[in-house]
Symmetry: C2
Subunit: 396 residues, 2 copies
Amino acid sequence: MRRMTARPANAHQARLLKLLRDGGPNSRAQLGDQVDLSRSKLAVEVDRLLETGLVVADGLAASRGGRRSHNVRLNPDLRFLGVDIGATSVDVAVTNAELEILGHLNQPLDVREGPVAVFEQVLSMAAKLRATGLAEGFDGAGIGVPGPVRFPEGVPVAPPIMPGWDGFPVREALSQELGCPVMVDNDVNLMAMGEQHAGVARTVADYLCVKIGTGIGCGIVVGGHVYRGTTGSAGDIGHIQAVPDGRPCACGNRGCLEAHFSGAALARDAVEAAQQGLSPELAVRLETHGALTAADVAAAAAAGDATCLDLIREGGTRTGQVIAGLVSFFNPGLVVIGGGVTGLGHTLLAAIRTQVYRQSLPLATGNLPIVLGELGPTAGVIGGARLISDHLFSPA
Amino acid sequence: MRRMTARPANAHQARLLKLLRDGGPNSRAQLGDQVDLSRSKLAVEVDRLLETGLVVADGLAASRGGRRSHNVRLNPDLRFLGVDIGATSVDVAVTNAELEILGHLNQPLDVREGPVAVFEQVLSMAAKLRATGLAEGFDGAGIGVPGPVRFPEGVPVAPPIMPGWDGFPVREALSQELGCPVMVDNDVNLMAMGEQHAGVARTVADYLCVKIGTGIGCGIVVGGHVYRGTTGSAGDIGHIQAVPDGRPCACGNRGCLEAHFSGAALARDAVEAAQQGLSPELAVRLETHGALTAADVAAAAAAGDATCLDLIREGGTRTGQVIAGLVSFFNPGLVVIGGGVTGLGHTLLAAIRTQVYRQSLPLATGNLPIVLGELGPTAGVIGGARLISDHLFSPA
DNA sequence: AGACTTCTTCCACTCTCAGGACAAAGAGCG
DNA sequence: CGCTCTTTGTCCTGAGAGTGGAAGAAGTCT
């Protein structure tokens, strides 16, 4: 199939495309209820969208008491690629234009191997998905990388954990390889967009999305839009000081949140605890696997290991301290916790909640839900699809 | 004179009004260079604005090489009132439609005397300004209060330092008394708007404005607009924990920034230092005035008093710690320090800068100016005028 | 079967707006 | 002073956007 290259010609068409993306197949009449255009105008714009091929007819809608309406929907052959490059693994998924995941692959992969190796992997995963018949090509791709990005150009800038990526033209390179438009963003922002599109944050305009993985980051959504900051490093909360004169951090300071709690820090703590004989559970796991990860701590904690529970609680408290400050500052309507360590689940969440509700003022916390992300590993890839669809469904 | 009640009829007119407000008298041709409208369309809209009386003809412009253009400007009889209610004093100023201050009064006043007493004072100050012939009435007023505000209604919500104000319909009451439209906001947000309109922040879209007065607050500007948070308490950074297990704070927690550094805390520290004989300079002042304020500390520090310099430095360091966290999180393009304690000047600024540049990541601080506000006590009242003019110069 | 709803199409009419033509008013130059 | 060139303001026409009414098509419900 030839790929779509059409773009909406005006704001009305863009609006309609987004309604169809978020609401699925819809009748003209239903669309009319949502957009405040005259019937005639609406018909004209829908017809033009049909001409472009972005939208296709989709049979008859159920009657709402009178004549049945003709449904329209986004072209079911449209395909977006969502790519979430993490520090230690990569997710690649194919979605349709309604951002439903049609196929999803996950592979361990060290981002430090550099852009060339990573792209090779990503492209081969994309090819594999294509080979299953899910897609003949892609109409757009949204990529997340674990570091700050100069958003308009889609280029990582000074990413601490991605040696070799600084200044690499990710957007341009992948656009060439995939032959479709590409947008690049921070992985945390992608997760925030994903949870906003299909997860817990569907109804709030201002919220924070804290991702605790190998590192810690925070997606900031203001008025429904991701806020990226002046240089694209907004939300980089891993290096906020959580413990005065605390542990040394890779960044050169001491007491950074990330040094005290993150996937990496937790793994270190777990090994230490195992070696000191504080946790027989962990010691066994260390023996068998040769290494420990956050998942081991989660499993041990689930089995009732006191040391692991303590580790989680202390990490949650540290994280809660930092989040409490952010809540006072930003006064969000929701805080979402996500990322690799969500396996730690409600023990972690409870510790964070306790600390935030204790430290922030009642006016800010009064009606503030703090919840786990709903989408898990799919948040990032859905966010990627959302990112590129927002771009493509805007007037050129 | 009868007060103006006209409002722009569409977005084009609103745009033109704001250009005239920010750029002063302007020729039609110059306006045309800025708004991307055809000459005919522009002429129509300008004519309509002239009809409403919001805009008046203003003679001929200088030639730009051809026929001279007819200037237009905002009606010079328009008057806005800017009111900045602080914890211990109130500022009232009259501006024209270009937000130039025509008259300014300042009086000490304890906000805890309650809304009725404070409004009496404010209204009498406004009357005094009117009596000087600066204004025959007001076309709008912008009010700042030292606490969180439910912005759409203009009502303070649970303000910690304003007993008796909770839920008081400030906007409605003052609108009645003044007989003109009124908008109410947090005093810190007003300062942020003032510095953005006429101060150091004219050219940045995303910045933070930290006001250190009796308390500490932070104005947040995202994309040129003040961000107020879900419940209107965004920027309330005074109760972020700066010192673990630090001093007890009025809010019930320990170690809040405000408990360690603010106008109030500094005064307490100064009295203590004087009584312990650590600072002869302060002791003398305490003797003569019976009390000490931040201004005394500033004066003593300027005279070289080591204890005072230390107090300021330590306070700056605490503040810098918190700001460093906010900078990492928000990645602003500028940080402005203002409020009553700016008298402490560059000693304070240096301490804050040192701490921020040390603790935040280079990507966020790389090109981050941290500067003192330019407008001093006029920032708030200019911000007030700006607030109401933004409202009135928007389509109804 | 008939009355009522809902949806779609068609059409006439209004409004907006851009851009060209032209006149008015100035600058610069010889 | 006269000429040319530039800039500004005004007028006009035509294209396109958009509204709302009317009528027909396709349902439901009694």
